[in-house]
Amino acid sequence: MQIEVEELTKLYDLKRGLQPTSFSVKKGELIAVVGHNGAGKSTLMKMLAGWILPDNGQATIDGIVLRNRMAVVEKVGFVPEIPNLFDFFTVEYNLKLFAYLFRTPFSRVDEVLREFNLLSFRNNKIQTLSKGLKQRVNIGRTLLANPSVLLFDEPTSGLDFEMTKELYRLLKNIHDDGKTIFFTSHRPEEIKTLATRIMVLHDGSLIFDGSPKDYFQSEVYVNLYAL
């Protein structure tokens, strides 16, 4: 197993957060983490990314414990819902800064610019870009270090139809490269089209973990998400 999560817990006020949760993930899976707002999806993602420290429990990625941040960041890339880039600098500057910090050669920046159709925007400041373009830069930055696991928190939030389609294409390409992907989502069509496995969180607890086919036939889907 590539990822092992054991009793991972993080609780905030009013019982929000993530109740003790356990699961394991094989290499190359494309997992949709589904749930209402406040279900604990982002908390799970942020804990796996090292943004939030768990109250309890343990997780390993390729045998490396989460608390070993220096080693984990080489394995995991996290794309948050709101792109966190240096707004006042150009696309190229942002990518080069992170390439330097990842100790990746600058030639990789050109590759990413090409792969993500960002060559014509390389000298544009981030603050002048649309949300979709910012998200592309954000994903490109995460892929600079070539991590084996990618976490996407609400990747299509705020994107229009065309940009959402473009992002699906990107996710599929990344998955085809053999990477393990987690993404949180509200949209059934997103889950149907992309995921190879569905995990449903409700009030901080994992209430379903299975294939998309089983999910759409399950009581969980009918009770919680079907119109």
Partner: protein, 343 residues
Amino acid sequence: MIRNILILTLNDLAIAIKNKSIYLIIFIPFFVFVTLKLIDSPSIDEIPVKIGFIQNENYAPEIMLTVKAAGQIIKVTWVQDLQEGVQLLKEKKIDGVLLRNTNKRDSLKLLVLKKESFHTIVIVEKFLALQKAAEGYRDAWISDIEELYDGGIQRQALPTWILMLVLLIGFIILPAQVAEEKEKRLILALLQTPIREVEWLIAKVLTGMLLTLVAILLLHILSGFGVVHVPSYMAFIAVGGFCFSAFGVFLGFLCRNQASARTLGVVFYLPHLLPSALSDFSQQLSAIAPLLPSYQFYGPVKTILLEEGTIANLSFEWGYLLLVGALAFYLSSILLKKRWLMK
């Protein structure tokens, strides 16, 4: 239209409350009130002044008699010569040295560190009061005042400007920058790379130190004032830059956004600036100011710039600043590790 304006005004006020800017409206008047209370010294007569008299100097007998009779309010220290008097003055063991004014019969020349200071005012006032009691109004005994600090008022103001710059960078610029990086989750993006938390912290503190250095260098270039003991001066600028930059980074960690960081910065900026900068003018402030890290920076910078002091005599202050900076740095590193207010 009026209704919309009212609603928008109320909304702006709510934002000011939410981002804590409103606290400054309460804090600044309160702070000014407290400072004014400390500056205004109603019992100036009760404060004894320490005056150095030079042995073998031919002082007018009626002056000496009156001074001796006023032993409660004027403490006399006899010094061997002017050199010893200057030394005691620099060490702040006495407030002034009285010399016979060779240009005017039966009058005195007062030697002080700085003309525009609280101590000089007290000395002159006390001697005027003594003279009035002894002989009624005549020509003032103290007919001339000479100051030890050279370079005039502009040079004497230099330490205050330097303190302002260092505190501005430490308490206003850096906390806002750190809070912005937290607010926009840029720190978290940087910590998604294999950098150590301590590297990020050191970079922030170094930025503050570099900004401090550049600002002070520009100040010297533009004002044209040089420094005699450059290594000592550099050592204090470096340790002051470190201390207040680390302090500023720590303040930034206590805030969720830039607006609250600016508010908190001002709350720290004014109490660090004013008591130290005004300590020359108030006995009470000069008693409180040494408790602040800013005074442990301001005092030595003043000594080095105006009295040609060196770090050899200022090691306590240097160590104190280093310690405060190290403590702030350590606390910041704990908050960074805990991802404080960065969810």
